[in-house]
Symmetry: C2
Subunit: 440 residues, 2 copies
């Protein structure tokens, strides 16, 4: 036992905040035995003291001003779980300035202000821990930082948004249309009433950015990541995918092009080969595949969100913070080390692709599209078609699918711009990357 009673300040008592508070209380015995620590939650900052809560707190513990936690000289460690960006930034900054280690699960904060905060952490010698910011209960942050420390990471490919994976799984297995799958996810509490960031890919992008910063030690801006959401995917795409030996997942892809000192950074709905384990990750579960030069392919799988899994990650950081906070400047929090990389423009990223057009049911359609691809040096590996269906009846257009050989994204876009002009093509094409896991 370290002897002294470490004092924790907890900011935020929402779903995760109350989960953390409960976990610190309920599993105190194993934490004290395993980590040889002893602790107290001294103050809890909330927005509204009067709100009814599931956890009971002693009088005097609650405050509506997080500054009281930062200013309290008795408090050793701050947990930031208030969410949002502006106030969370002020809080984390103030705590680090005061020399108090911070534990946070705030991915938007780190994606937007990580560079500044990590620099401040480094200057002050005060650690910032953030296991809960990526993959919920999956220990991917610590594994990248410590366990795989000796590896040159060539690629990270992950399913790291549970809501969108739930929707895609429901569309794949129950043949639900997108909006019905979303409604089901909302009814089950797997999607927020405003699911925008889950659906448009930005939640996954924030997490991907953090993983890339960890793996390459380098400051990165959210603007550099190419992001496409899942709204365009339709049930018929799952039918084609299955026939062709794939399933559809929203993937974050981080790939290191060592010879070019460049990083590929993108989030897109993608074809995943049915043989690859990531294709079997269903519902709200997350999984992250990491390829290192020594370790080869590793995969980390688990619940990427939710009160308890996220609390598991937050508390593991709190334990580390408690163990390290008396070691005079030593800590295992992340320190940027700036590996020399720049982000590859998305136009230069190369993958095979699946493209589905809606075309008029007439002769010469395949020939005219194929000719446009050919003019732009985009190779075709296969084509497939299906009747269009609308409320059970046949439509006047058909689905026409092209499987394309690997080519630069920019080149494909030029071909598609030309194809969009054809009057036989009746709607914007659906374009999905095909993830081959080469070098992953």
């Amino acid at each position: 036992m370290l002897g002294e009673n470490l004092q924790i300040g907890l900011a935020g008592l929402g779903t995760v905040g109350s989960g953390v508070y409960e976990a610190l209380l309920r599993n105190r015995d194993i934490l004290e035995a395993r980590a040889q620590i002893s602790y107290e939650v001294r103050r809890v900052a909330v927005r509204d003291k009067k709100r009814r809560r599931s956890v009971e707190l002693a009088p005097g513990v609650l405050t509506e001003d997080w500054r009281e936690l930062v200013e309290d000289d008795q408090i050793d460690i701050i947990i930031e779980l208030i969410g949002g960006i502006t106030e969370a930034y002020d809080l984390v900054r103030a705590a680090l300035e005061k020399g108090k280690p911070v534990v946070t699960g705030n991915k938007a904060l780190l994606a937007e202000h990580g560079n500044t905060l990590f620099r401040l952490s480094q200057e002050k010698g005060v650690p910032l821990y953030f296991e809960a910011s990526c993959g919920g209960g999956i220990p991917i942050v610590r594994s990248l930082q410590n366990s795989l420390i000796c590896n040159n990471v060539s690629a990270i490919v992950g399913i790291i948004n549970g809501t969108s994976n739930y929707i895609l799984t429901a569309m794949a297995t129950e043949a639900l249309p997108y909006h019905e799958a979303l409604r089901q996810a909302q009814q089950l509490g797997y999607a927020e009433s405003d699911p925008t960031l889950d659906i448009n890919g930005w939640d996954a992008a924030y997490k991907g950015l953090i993983l890339a910063m960890l793996a390459y030690g380098t400051p990165l801006r959210p603007e550099t990541i190419s992001v496409t959401g899942i709204e365009q995917v339709e049930p018929v795409d799952f039918t084609f995918a299955r026939q062709l030996g794939y399933t559809i997942k929203l993937l974050v892809v981080i790939r290191h092009h060592q010879e070019r000192k460049a990083l590929e950074l993108r989030v897109q709905p993608s074809f995943v080969p049915q043989q690859h384990l990531l294709s079997k990750v269903e519902g709200v579960f997350n999984a992250i595949a990491v390829r290192g030069d020594l370790v080869g392919e590793t995969i980390f799988y688990g619940r990427g969100a939710g009160k308890n899994p996220t609390s598991s990650a937050v508390v593991s950081d709190v334990v580390l913070a408690m163990r390290e906070c008396r070691l005079q400047g030593y800590h295992t929090g992340f320190q940027p080390y700036t590996q020399e990389v720049q982000v590859l423009p998305v136009e230069e990223t190369v993958t095979p692709c699946y493209v589905r057009f809606r075309v008029k049911d007439c002769h010469g359609v395949i020939a005219s599209i194929a000719a446009a691809f050919s003019r732009h040096d985009v190779g075709i590996s296969a084509t497939s078609s299906a009747d269009g269906e609308h409320e059970g009846g046949k439509t006047e257009w058909n689905h026409l699918v092209f499987m394309l050989h690997a080519c630069p994204w920019g080149q494909l876009q030029k071909a598609l711009d030309e194809i969009r002009q054809l009057d036989t093509v009746v709607a914007d094409p659906v374009v999905l990357r095909i993830e081959t896991f080469q070098g992953t």
Copy 2:
């Protein structure tokens, strides 16, 4: 940078030893940048100095006496990779006594002498790191110790022997007989010339014992684990398994019966439902599913053996050892904390089972076997049969399969003892557990 140049003593320069030596040299830039350390491999102990090696060492670095490493006051950290038990035990003991942190990947050593060595480590305040002892490059040791520290672990179910998984995969996918699959594994270098410990389950048992010690903090002896190897499994079992919705894997199962303060500890070839991710783990890959009260189910997947993946784990420990070795007694090496548990006798463990008999092709066989099961209160959920085949011809006996409801192992054995007496049963039955992953 910590400034000072830490000095490493490496004992053993076999496959993993030379991999570690090469990794420390080749990836020095990322290690120094990420961990802010600087180091030298000062001495390397080998059995025979004159043997030709793939790695080149400066004169004076090699020695045939590991004691020179332990006695060298300049050496800060010892890496034990000599293998075996007796000498490795002397080496680790001597190093800990001398106050030198030790990194080892020696599972047999830890399974046999872990209790003594962990106690010594605790008494001396000198850490013993062993990430490489379980699951090769998969960071399962550190994840159990740190990332999942806040969880009451209810179950660990894993595929943690690559050789046997390669053999079972080849039997399942190529319908190879056991001995041919083994020969193929040996030709590809996935099985030793003497594969006994891989095949009979003891390699997996050693690793399972270490995982159980980590999860429950408690001293455990290898004798307490119930171990069955894969030699009994035949191609026909894979056919039945597939028809019934399963595949066959050698599993280590650790299950905590909280109310009884008891641990279930066993290694057995088992039916794994085709829906569960572990059923998709093929070839030499390993995967470990851990269920905690907060985190739910997590799975860790990767290469469980081999020069580079194992080196990845060893070096991650070496980095930790280097970072922690100047912190005056602080370290994150494992410390037993003795959760109160005892091992459940295997007779009291309860699972559904698959039992295959070879029976004479005559009337009343099913009835007589079913009657014996019934007398011992063993419920039958399904039966199935297939003609016996031998070198293409039909035999005089048939395969008869019973799927049994969950019942205590001891009760099943009594029923089987009675059934073995029937003169219609011509060979010892093949009994495989059915893993339901309830509570996993």
